[in-house]
């Protein structure tokens, strides 16, 4: 059962969509850095 959004119960080890967002965005940052290096002429 999914925990309530604002539940005060500890909900360790439950993956939330924000964590995926953090991983995706930071991977994009690193790809952007790679791109910046590549356009180095």
């Amino acid at each position: 059962m999914e925990p309530k959004e604002n539940s005060e119960e500890p909900n360790s080890f439950i993956w939330k969509k924000e964590y995926s967002l953090v991983l995706i965005l930071n991977t994009l940052y690193i790809l952007l850095f790679h791109f910046l290096m590549k356009v180095n002429i």
Binding site: W15, F33, V39
Partner: protein, 577 residues
């Protein structure tokens, strides 16, 4: 400094202090004072966590680092987002479940009092030293370039922080962090756009990036597996991960920020905010440093950015040698400007051969400049071996004072002092809390009122403020300042993190094994530091300091498990015999 700059500087700093005191006076109980009443929203937590980590050193040193070595330093933060997720998944739910006031309180619940006390003391040592350096670092630089008295500056920064931190506790720290972050980011954006606007009109932003790239400043990623190199993708993602996990997960100056969250959800979102914005923010600060580099391709720069070093050498027997070098450097400025212009013209014409030739010329002229700067450092060292020749920390402040227009100078000085205040406030808040709750309250008789413990925490916060000022007044500068703070952290963090990981994940290990394991680990880490890192020049170390985090963490986990296993086998054998 012009009157307008003084007005902006003084008004900005005073308004932060006054607002902090006015908004948060009258804490009734310990929860109010230590956890900010537990009603902080996620965006306040996120900004507060970022403001705590971003000290004045970040804004003085990081642009200088990019100016000299490019943007590779951003890799240091690659482990941070993963660390944020682990803390949200594991640490925050447990802290909230156990309703702790300090991170180390959890260790008593899981192990015993001596483990709690040991980790609290390790925290006080490293954070107390760091608090002194957090005040000292901007003071030494500002006093050198502005001629202000070092001790007076230390005392002013320390006192401003003490006023609102002692008065309002965690809530005062959080509310002032919001304003400080606003001042900091506004100032940095102004500088960025000022530089863009002051470059020759025929150069676009993308050409600016290409110029920076041609000079090696955009070499952001380094995938080499080299343990001696401080900043690589791998050291960032592993060593950086352990450092960030330890810093954000177990350092009270950070834990206290998100313990003030209204709910688990608010605390988690606060750290997610940090996980999403931290790398872009550091990238931006480094980019400002690269823009300063580009600015000095078209404008004259000093041979060495540290004015104290220049003054020392010009008053020594080596003055003539240095002046000759200065003359050579000035001649090179024109050559540099022409090489950059040819490069941007070639880019516009899209002539591949011309671009390649211009790029070779640009790199050659910058190599010549680097060689001249290194010779200048050698001469400075000969004239006075005690003086700091590494001028990374002086690049940005030199630019601020000599190249920014009136008004912006005051704003940027407010940025640096706001950053100094924001991290010092969190540190003093945490140091006072740990001393009052983990050491004093835990070891005193029950029966005192809430008000009594609030006052005790205030007194300890004040005492740590005074200690930090004393450390700042007696500290000595060595190497790059931002690295000094990180090195001190790395010596202790891995060990403390390992103790927390044992508490969370290794159920069979008990208090005695952890306590002995932590002491043995700390001794080994000290030996590694003094043998492989401390005796060597910056960049020549036998082991990059970030690895101390992973080593300390791994060692304490392994040793504690071995001791526990050995102890159990012994006891079993004794029972069977």
């Amino acid at each position: 400094m012009a009157t307008l700059d003084w007005v902006i500087l003084v008004l900005t700093l005073l308004s932060i202090v006054v607002y902090g005191v006015w908004k948060t006076k009258g804490s009734k109980n310990v929860e109010d004072y230590v956890k900010g009443g537990k009603d902080t929203k996620w965006w306040t937590i996120g900004l507060s966590v970022m403001a705590t980590q971003a000290s004045a050193i970040t804004f003085l040193s990081t642009p200088g680092q990019a100016f000299h070595d490019g943007m590779g330093f951003v890799q240091f933060y690659f482990g941070l987002p993963i660390a944020m997720i682990v803390i949200c998944l594991v640490f925050i739910p447990i802290y909230h479940k156990l309703k702790v006031y300090t991170a180390y309180e959890l260790l008593e619940k899981r192990f015993d009092l001596k483990t709690r006390t040991l980790t609290a003391i390790l925290f006080l040592i490293q954070r107390g030293l760091a608090a002194g350096i957090t005040i000292y670092a901007p003071s030494i630089i500002l006093s050198a370039v502005l001629g202000w008295d070092l001790r007076t500056l230390n005392i002013i920064i320390g006192l401003l922080v003490i006023i609102y931190t002692v008065s309002g506790g965690t809530k005062a720290v959080s509310v002032t962090h919001k304003q400080q972050m606003f001042v900091i980011m506004t100032g940095m954006f102004f500088v960025f756009f000022f530089i863009l606007g002051s470059l020759p009109s025929d150069i676009s932003f993308s050409e600016t990036l290409k110029l920076a790239g041609a000079n090696g400043k955009l070499d952001i990623l380094n995938f080499e597996f080299d343990t001696k190199n401080r900043y690589t993708f791998w050291s960032g993602i592993t060593g950086g991960f352990f450092l960030m996990l330890s810093y954000f997960g177990t350092d009270q100056s950070q834990v206290q920020r998100y313990l003030s969250g209204k709910s688990i959800r608010e605390s988690q979102l606060g750290l997610i905010f940090n996980g999403i914005l931290k790398i872009p923010m550091q990238f931006f600060i480094l980019l400002v440093g690269v823009m300063v580099f580009i600015f000095y391709q078209y404008n004259p720069s000093p041979l060495n950015f540290n004015p104290a070093a220049t003054e020392a050498v010009l008053n020594s027997d080596y003055a003539d040698d240095y002046k000759a070098l200065q003359a050579g450097h000035e001649e090179l400025q024109l050559e540099k400007k022409m090489a950059q212009s040819e490069f941007s013209s070639a880019l516009k014409l899209k002539d591949f051969n011309a671009i390649e030739q211009a790029k070779i010329d640009v790199v050659a002229v910058n190599k010549t400049e680097l060689a001249i700067r290194n010779t200048a450092k050698d001469i400075i060292s000969k004239s006075d071996s005690a003086i700091e020749t590494n001028d990374k920390d002086y690049v940005f402040i030199h630019f601020i004072l000599n190249n920014l227009p009136m008004g912006l100078v005051g704003l940027l000085l407010a940025v640096i002092l706001s950053a100094a205040m924001s991290s010092t406030a969190s540190e003093l808040n945490a140091l006072g809390t740990i001393t009052a709750l983990d050491l004093f309250k835990r070891n005193s008789k029950e029966g005192f009122s809430q008000k009594y413990y609030v006052n005790v925490t205030k007194v300890f916060t004040l005492v740590w403020g005074i200690i930090a000022i004393i450390i700042a007044c007696t500290a000595y500068l060595f190497d790059n300042l931002i690295q000094l703070v990180n090195i001190i952290g790395s010596i202790f963090y891995g060990n403390v993190l390992g103790v927390f990981l044992l508490a969370f994940f290794v159920k069979f290990v008990k208090g005695n094994a952890v306590f002995i394991g932590a002491i043995i680990t700390q001794v080994i880490v000290f030996i590694l530091f003094f043998v492989l890192i401390f005796p060597y020049e910056s960049g020549q170390e036998k082991l990059g300091y970030l690895w101390l985090n992973a080593i300390g963490c791994g060692l304490v986990v392994a040793i504690a498990m071995l001791i526990e296993g050995f102890d159990r086998t012994l006891r079993k054998e004794t029972v069977e015999a």
